[in-house]
């Protein structure tokens, strides 16, 4: 095992029953189903919708689908990445505005783009431990209705003013204000420690792993094509509730082509020396939206005559040192997945469906390249060689974020609900429990991954 890398320690014996071997599992945590609103490109259909509006709408659609009116759910957890300070109790407020029992407790969680998946894992663990019987996980984000803060200079002046007691004191404090202090401080997706945007970070990684423009465009093309097909076959009929006139994700371009994608100008990595390959077509745009997932113990699902689509088997988080350039900003899942699969006695070949969040096409392809790289496998994962190869026909088969869009905290819930449905259908068709893997990269060099099995 490598000292330098993030070594992978698997169990000595492969587990007989994966569900039973999950740490301390007393109960199973199953996915009953999900609901999201269509995702909208920022500045579009949801421009006037707040995070609370969208999360409440997603909750109410879930409640309607599963008849949860007046139900006291064990706990609801959700979060938003871009959040107003007034929304300190966002999830609880959404619950109070929904048709759920007002006696349903809720908490907010925030782990950048992994927020949604982490709410699923945290609540699933509570169910496994028997602390709760039912839960709703979720996430929401609006880049349209983003909070705008006052500048640090103005903020200090305002706070000092509130503490001043006399008029001369107040005038003295006001005199400190400079015109530049009046400029608002809008949120950005830049990394605080490097000053680089996420796109520029990924451009470095994309270049490092020598991912071609063609490969990125092809991944984006497949994402749109797969998502459009999923809509056409009615796959989302019981996963989505329309909102504010949208019935499909507004970023979806069913008619896009490789030629169209190839015609777009690069937007990231234009000063890296190497050829810039990342365009608006193979990068995910800012998006507004919300998603929810209903989780339960098997007993609770049975008592309520609700379906059990898939079991949440296990989850893993990882982080990388991108600040010093040791790994790319969005490469944490490259470490988390090997650890997760090793702990469960599995390899990439055992997975029926891969859901790798498409922050950028380059992110997915860099991760796959790292796993296929012998050097990376040996030196960074502490393996004998390459970690393995993902069968591309099992990757994001119903589309992913490049087509659907990516309202940061809502992506986890979108993927968990869709994957659970896919696994359930495949499991029923094949007569054996299908396995699914979710991988989500996040700002701050983090990543959260999860393993689901068809029920």
């Amino acid at each position: 095992m490598s000292i330098d890398g993030q070594s992978v320690n698997g169990p000595e014996e492969p587990a007989v029953s994966r569900a039973a071997s999950s740490a301390q599992a007393v109960h199973r945590a199953v996915v009953v189903g999900g609901n999201r609103i269509p995702f909208a490109r920022t500045g579009g259909a949801y421009t006037k919708s707040s995070n609370q509006d969208m999360l409440t709408a997603a909750l109410d659609g879930l409640i309607a689908r599963f008849g949860l009116q007046d139900e006291r759910i064990g706990e609801v957890a959700a979060g938003a990445v871009l959040k107003h300070s007034r929304d300190f109790n966002l999830t609880r407020e959404a619950v109070l505005g929904s048709a759920l029992s007002a006696e349903t407790p809720a908490y907010d969680l925030q782990q950048a783009c992994a927020t949604g998946l982490e709410t699923v894992l945290g609540l699933a663990n509570k169910i496994k431990l028997g602390q709760i019987e039912s839960a709703i996980a979720g996430g929401v984000d609006s880049a349209s209705d983003a909070p705008i803060a006052v500048s640090e200079g103005l903020r200090e002046v305002l706070l000092d003013l509130s503490r001043a007691k006399t008029l001369p004191q107040r005038l003295q404090i006001l005199a400190r204000l400079r015109p530049k202090d009046l400029a608002p401080d809008a949120p950005n997706t830049g990394e605080p420690r490097t000053g680089l945007s996420m796109g520029e970070h990924q451009a470095l990684t994309t270049a490092q792993w020598k991912i071609t423009r063609e490969a990125q465009d092809e991944l984006a093309y497949n994402s749109h094509r797969n998502l459009a097909a999923a809509y056409d076959t009615g796959f989302f009929d019981d996963l989505l509730t329309p909102y504010r006139g949208l019935t499909r994700d507004s970023n979806l371009r069913a008619d896009t082509s490789l030629d169209k994608l190839a015609s777009l100008k690069p937007v990231f990595g234009r000063n890296l020396g190497a050829e810039a390959t990342m365009t608006a077509g193979n990068s995910t745009p800012l998006t507004d939206g919300a998603s929810t997932v209903l989780l339960a113990s098997e007993e609770w699902a049975d008592q309520h005559d609700l379906p059990k689509l898939a079991t949440i088997l296990d989850g893993e988080a990882a982080a990388v040192d991108f600040v010093h350039g040791k790994d790319g900003l969005l490469m944490a899942p490259a470490f988390a997945v090997p650890r997760l699969l090793a702990r469960n006695g599995l390899t990439l070949d055992d997975i029926d469906y891969f859901e790798i969040h498409e922050a950028f096409a380059g992110t997915v392809l860099s991760t796959l390249a790292a796993w296929e790289d012998e050097e990376f496998g040996r030196t960074r994962l502490g393996l004998d060689g390459a970690f393995g190869k993902v069968d591309r026909s099992r990757l994001n088969v119903n589309g992913s974020s490049l087509a659907a869009g990516h309202p940061f905290a809502a992506t986890g819930g979108r993927i968990v609900a869709s994957l659970a449905k896919m696994l359930h259908e495949k499991g029923a068709a094949d007569g054996r429990p299908a396995l699914g893997l979710i991988s989500i990269c996040a700002a701050g060099g983090q990543g959260v991954v999860a393993l689901l099995e068809a029920h």
């Binding site: 409640i63 309607a64 007046d70 009929d237 989505l240 329309p242």
Partner: protein, 445 residues
């Protein structure tokens, strides 16, 4: 939903002006509220047959004030004219003229209900007398004022005047549930059915599926079935899912986003109802579309989409229901037809064909459901105040809504009440029928 004109002429100066000018004076109709008295005053039961005595006794058992002879000057909640013993046209005169003076004493929103036998099967003289009731009742309904309505119950051979279907229909016609049903007959074909234990929740314990439930009449049906005690599965196309979720949450039911024209729609409806709620008792085919165009300009897509959604889909779903072991305990199907399918409507050849189709389907499906104690009926709405009819140009709309005996448009709730009645256990003896909810529209019989 009451239109401005009706509000304006129902009191004060507006009423006086309308009266002087001879303008229509539509009444504010009494609508059903749980717990309200069945009728607005005592009931006069006219008739000398055994059936008349039995009906009077049944009404007394409902704790109603019942008169066998009119008390002069006393305001009446309704008149029940029992004519189930007519042998010849001459037999009509005595009971009808005995009831006549009491029409003056009918309270606002009063009720006249005839009970007679279906014309077919008797002697020519009996058939003439029985068919005479049809013309009599329809004319009388047009003479009634102040929100009063007249409707009739037709008993098939061998069905007593107090069969569950007859008493169920009598309660419906007397109550405010039938506010916009006027000049109509319901035929009780058998003694099947069962009166409810609690008249305020006749659908208690039932699981009901309502298609097209996201808005308008469908949403009103979902609310009404829920009010009457049913657990509701609200179905609509995925694109209407947001409104559907609101309705489902309001009625404490579940939302099923489903295009009913899919081949597997029937199976998915049954799976959802049985899987989530353990059973399926009632299916209301309400979903429908219009694609109006004069026939001379009609194209394939306008024609075929209307036929497919409005009738072909119902036939496919019914096939699945009839084949299902889960739809065998006194099941009920109620379809929404339209007066367009009866009287025709310019620009609606496709729609009227589909709605005529619904009525044909109902008639032919009735015997197939009978073996499981089931029934299937249609409700044909006339002019109902909905988002759809609000888009009709003002003048056309104003004429359309006044052209009936009640001189106003109905409400979605009025259609829903008729459907709730036909979906109830009490209506078991009524099958293959079309009940119009049109305020006795002047066109189309």
């Amino acid at each position: 939903m009451t239109d401005t004109y009706t509000r304006l002429v129902s009191k004060g100066v507006g009423r006086d002006v309308a009266k002087k000018l001879g303008l229509p004076q539509p009444a504010l109709l009494r609508r059903y509220q749980p717990g309200q008295p069945l009728v607005n005053g005592p009931l006069l039961v006219v008739g000398s047959s055994e059936g008349a005595d039995a009906i009077a006794a049944a009404l007394l058992a409902w704790d109603l004030d019942v008169r066998r002879h009119a008390v002069p000057q006393e305001k009446l909640g309704g008149i029940v004219l029992v004519l189930d013993d007519l042998e010849k046209p001459g037999d009509l005169e005595e009971p009808v003229l005995r009831a006549a003076p009491s029409l003056r004493d009918l309270a606002p929103n009063g009720r006249v209900v005839t009970v007679s036998r279906v014309p077919d099967g008797g002697t020519p003289a009996a058939a003439a007398a029985r068919q005479g009731v049809d013309g009599l009742l329809r004319s009388l309904a047009k003479e009634l004022r102040a929100g009063a309505t007249g409707n009739g119950i037709l008993l098939a051979a061998g069905v007593s005047a107090t069969a569950p279907g007859a008493l169920g229909a009598l309660r419906f016609f007397l109550s405010a549930r039938s506010a916009f049903v006027d000049g109509q007959f319901v035929r009780v074909g058998s003694s099947d059915g069962k009166l409810p234990d609690d008249v305020d929740t006749p659908l208690s314990g039932k699981v009901a599926v309502v298609t097209g439930a996201a808005r308008g009449i469908g949403a009103a049906i979902a609310r009404t079935l829920h009010r009457d005690g049913a657990t509701v599965v609200a179905v609509d196309i995925p694109a209407a899912g947001d409104h559907l979720a609101e309705v489902a949450n309001e009625v404490r039911g579940t939302a099923l986003q489903l295009d009913i024209s899919r081949d597997d729609a029937g199976a998915r409806i049954i799976d959802h109802a049985v899987g989530r709620h353990g059973r399926l008792d009632i299916v209301v085919h309400n979903a429908g579309i219009t694609r109006d165009k004069l026939l001379v300009n009609m194209d394939h897509s306008r024609w075929s989409s209307v036929i497919d959604v409005n009738i072909a889909a119902q036939l496919r779903i019914n096939d699945a229901l009839l084949a299902s072991e889960h739809f065998r305990s006194s099941p009920r199907i109620v379809s929404v037809a339209s007066t367009s399918g009866i009287a025709g409507n310019r620009g609606q050849t496709n729609y009227a064909a589909s709605k005529g189709g619904v009525m044909g389907m109902v008639r032919a499906t009735a015997p197939l459901l009978a073996r499981h104690g089931g029934s299937i009926n249609a409700v044909a709405p006339g002019f109902i105040e909905t988002e759809m009819t609000a888009r009709i140009p003002f003048a056309t709309r104003e004429i359309a809504r006044r052209l009936n005996s009640l001189q106003q448009g109905g409400r979605p709730q009025d259609v829903a009440e008729a459907i709730a009645f036909l979906a109830s256990d009490a209506a078991g003896g009524i099958s293959g029928e079309v009940l119009r909810v049109c305020g006795q529209n002047m066109v189309g019989a």
